[in-house]
């Protein structure tokens, strides 16, 4: 392992190069400067995480030593056309679609159907016109810098979707945020920053996808802030389908108002290295968070999910249901941390993590943690790590289905229970297809027949 000063250097270097570049190309964005300053200060004081930090104990960061990630300068991908991203489109494309290429809004690829009154769509770098005041004020309102990458995102935010729904507004159909990354000669890093604000009683569905075009290497370092007002409802469907050589880090931070409902489905399928942090803070009574996720770690893939669910007020409910599928030398890390504060009586929380191991050489580190300070709560957790059930396999094969296909169907079934929590049928279908194609190209293991 390299020394602290040396490791710290990588992140500092990313910051230095990023700031240099920004000074050249960024428009004067006064309203963002406080956030950037806070980020810069954060990077300066925070070390690159290492294994001594509990939350990063199982997360290997060696890739930072191997690549010098360059800030992405707009380049050939400006010329990207709709036909180039055909394969990435959902079969039933949402009427509102914000497309970002290598971290920057590509207006030519967006779809902006007229939406209901009270729906404001904007973008951080101003590509959709002046950013309204209510969005400016909300930016960085809930983001915490729990690690240096979050601070780095604040310091170097490239671009991102800013979505605001006024009180009581119900949006029909989903808004899609589609990230497309094109591998460049030098691996690049971008820092997407999204903000979703639903005022009281508003309701929306958001699809957020991170895709790779081709199989280039790059690093996506995203931060997403979600703020839900009282009685609002957000269906948030996220799919990480990055290229096989990409690194993907997403820090999702959610603040829930009273009686709000937040439903998250996360399908983390791609990338060589993937980490999803999800922090949900209950800020008002009677709110519900349903978090479902699927992590795929094929041969040499690393897939990490960290949950930090904070029950700070009484009468809130959370469900955390995460599943892992591992093959070859794949690794899954699941860290599900739920804190129930002393005042958070009548909290109802159920955390589960089930992992399906297709090969003995795969590895899973699962750590459910319930930290409970209140005395009148209903909380439980369970984790399992298992192989495919031989009875199930035999049942399928006894009907004539060949062994490989039977395995595939069972994996698919295991994942389907997660995908079925997605509201969007098109996304569900895509998740299923992606999983199938990725499982099919898996390296065959020392098969036990």
């Amino acid at each position: 392992m390299s020394s602290d000063t040396q490791t710290q250097h990588d992140v500092q270097e990313i910051l230095r190069l990023g700031q240099q570049r920004m000074a050249r190309v960024m428009p004067d964005t006064d309203w963002q400067s406080a956030t950037r300053k806070r980020g810069t200060a954060g990077v300066a004081t925070m070390a690159r995480p290492d294994r001594k930090q509990e939350a990063w104990r199982y997360t290997p960061l060696g890739f930072l030593d191997q690549a010098e990630f360059q800030p992405i300068v707009e380049g050939p991908f400006d010329a990207l056309q709709l036909s180039d991203i055909d394969d990435l489109m959902l079969t039933d494309p949402p009427r509102i679609r914000l497309v970002f290429v290598n971290g920057y809004l590509a207006s030519g690829l967006c779809a902006m159907a007229k939406s209901a009154d009270g729906v404001t769509l904007s973008s951080l770098a101003g590509g959709l016109g002046e950013v309204p005041a209510m969005l400016r004020q909300q930016l960085d309102a809930i983001a915490e810098h729990n690690h240096v990458f979050a601070a780095l995102n604040s310091a170097l935010m490239s671009d991102g979707a800013l979505i605001h729904l006024a009180a009581g507004v119900h949006l029909d159909g989903p808004i899609e945020i589609l990230h497309v990354s094109v591998g460049l000669e030098q691996p690049g890093i971008c820092h997407p920053r999204h903000l979703i604000v639903l005022e009281d009683g508003a309701r929306a569905e958001v699809i957020e996808r991170y895709c790779g075009l081709g199989d280039g290497a790059y690093f996506t370092n995203a931060l997403i802030e979600v703020s839900l007002g009282s009685d609002s409802e957000l269906l948030h469907q996220r799919m990480q389908e990055e290229s096989p050589h990409a690194q993907h880090l997403s820090d999702l931070q959610v603040h829930l108002g009273a009686r709000s409902l937040y439903r998250l489905t996360l399908a983390a399928l791609g990338g060589a290295w993937s980490r999803n942090d999800v922090r949900v803070t209950f800020g008002g009574e009677g709110a519900t968070a349903e978090l479902d996720g699927l992590m795929l770690a094929r041969d040499r893939q690393f897939n990490d999910v960290h949950l930090d669910v904070r029950h700070e007020v009484p009468h809130c409910t959370s469900r955390e249901t995460f599943k892992g599928i591992l093959d070859g030398s794949g690794r899954v890390v699941f860290d599900g941390h739920i804190v129930v504060a002393r005042d958070a009586q009548k909290t109802d929380a159920v955390l589960s993590n089930r992992n399906l191991m297709l090969a003995r050489s795969a590895e899973v580190d699962t750590k459910p943690q319930l930290e409970i300070y209140a005395d009148d709560v209903k909380c439980s957790h369970g984790t399992t790590v298992g192989e495919l059930d031989p009875d199930m396999l035999f049942y399928l094969r006894s009907r004539g289905i060949p062994a490989d296909q039977a395995k595939q169907m069972l994996c698919q079934g295991f994942a389907q229970e997660v995908f079925d929590t997605m509201a969007s049928q098109a996304l569900r279908a895509r998740a299923g297809q992606l999983l199938a194609s990725r499982l099919l190209t898996s390296t065959p293991e020392q098969g036990e027949r």
């Binding site: 059930d389 399928l396 094969r397 006894s398 009907r399 004539g400 060949p402 296909q405 079934g413 389907q416």
Partner: protein, 252 residues
């Protein structure tokens, strides 16, 4: 012979369960196998279907003249062997329609027949569904997941009706069925009967044999067929139990 088993001996985890079993099933015949709990009936059924974990130590199993030993379960299925499970397995997340279609097409493919497209398949499955009086709702659900005991058994018969096996082995498909369901299941089996298809019925109850008339009845005890006869044997068993047979078994 459709199926010819000679002096079959098989172990599970080092324990001998099948201890020199002989059974001959001709085409078009229906054979009932009865016998005490734990005597090896399901074990025999699983061995025929090709389940892992059974060690055949002696004897032979010929299906239509070819040995089954060492064949993968899916190959046996494609050759026409079907096992209706005593305890059908639940497959969470695997849609029933999808499962049925994949099964049928996998078998057709293995036999070199063209696969059915969705439209043709749906038409076919609707016919079969009506035949076993099963609710179409059950097609939309994951295979057997949360099905009642009777629904699971009907789903087995639906699969049999769809796959049209040459040798159907029904392991206690009648257990836990209400009278109407028993009738439906029996109708399903009788509809399948033909001069070139055979059926092995594993059952504890004479009642099923009123609906499906067997050509032969066998008693399996202690890992062997200890008595064979016609359907009169089933009546005798109903009256006397198995005690009088096991005594004879000891003496043999």
């Amino acid at each position: 012979m459709m199926l010819s088993i000679k002096n079959l001996k098989a172990q599970v985890e080092g324990k001998e369960i099948i201890k020199g079993l002989d059974l001959q099933v001709g085409p078009g015949e229906v054979h009932a196998i009865m016998g005490p709990n734990g005597s090896g009936k399901s074990t025999l059924a699983h061995i025929l279907a090709g389940r892992d974990g059974y060690d055949v130590t002696d004897g032979e199993i010929l299906f239509e003249g070819r040995s089954l030993i060492g064949l993968a379960p899916e190959e046996r299925a494609s050759r026409g062997i079907f096992l209706a499970f005593q305890y059908p397995v639940e497959l969470p997340g695997v849609n029933n329609t999808h499962f049925l279609k994949e099964a049928l097409n996998a078998q057709r493919k293995a036999r070199g027949e063209p696969e059915l497209d969705s439209v043709a398949f749906l038409k076919l499955i609707r016919e079969k569904l009506a035949m076993v009086s099963m609710s179409p709702e059950l097609l939309k659900r994951p295979v057997n997941a949360g099905f009642s005991g009777g629904e699971k058994k009907r789903n087995e018969i639906l699969q049999m009706a769809l796959l049209e096996p040459r040798l159907a082995i029904l392991d206690e498909t009648d257990s836990g069925l209400d009278i109407d369901a028993l009738k439906t299941v029996s109708d399903g089996v009788n509809a399948l009967r033909s001069p070139d298809r055979s059926v092995i019925l594993v059952t504890h109850y004479q009642r099923l044999l009123d609906y499906i008339q067997p050509d032969f009845v066998h008693v399996l005890a202690g890992g062997r067929i200890v008595r064979s006869g016609d359907k009169g044997l089933a009546k005798e068993l109903e009256a006397k139990g198995y005690g009088w047979l096991s005594g004879q078994d000891e003496a043999a």
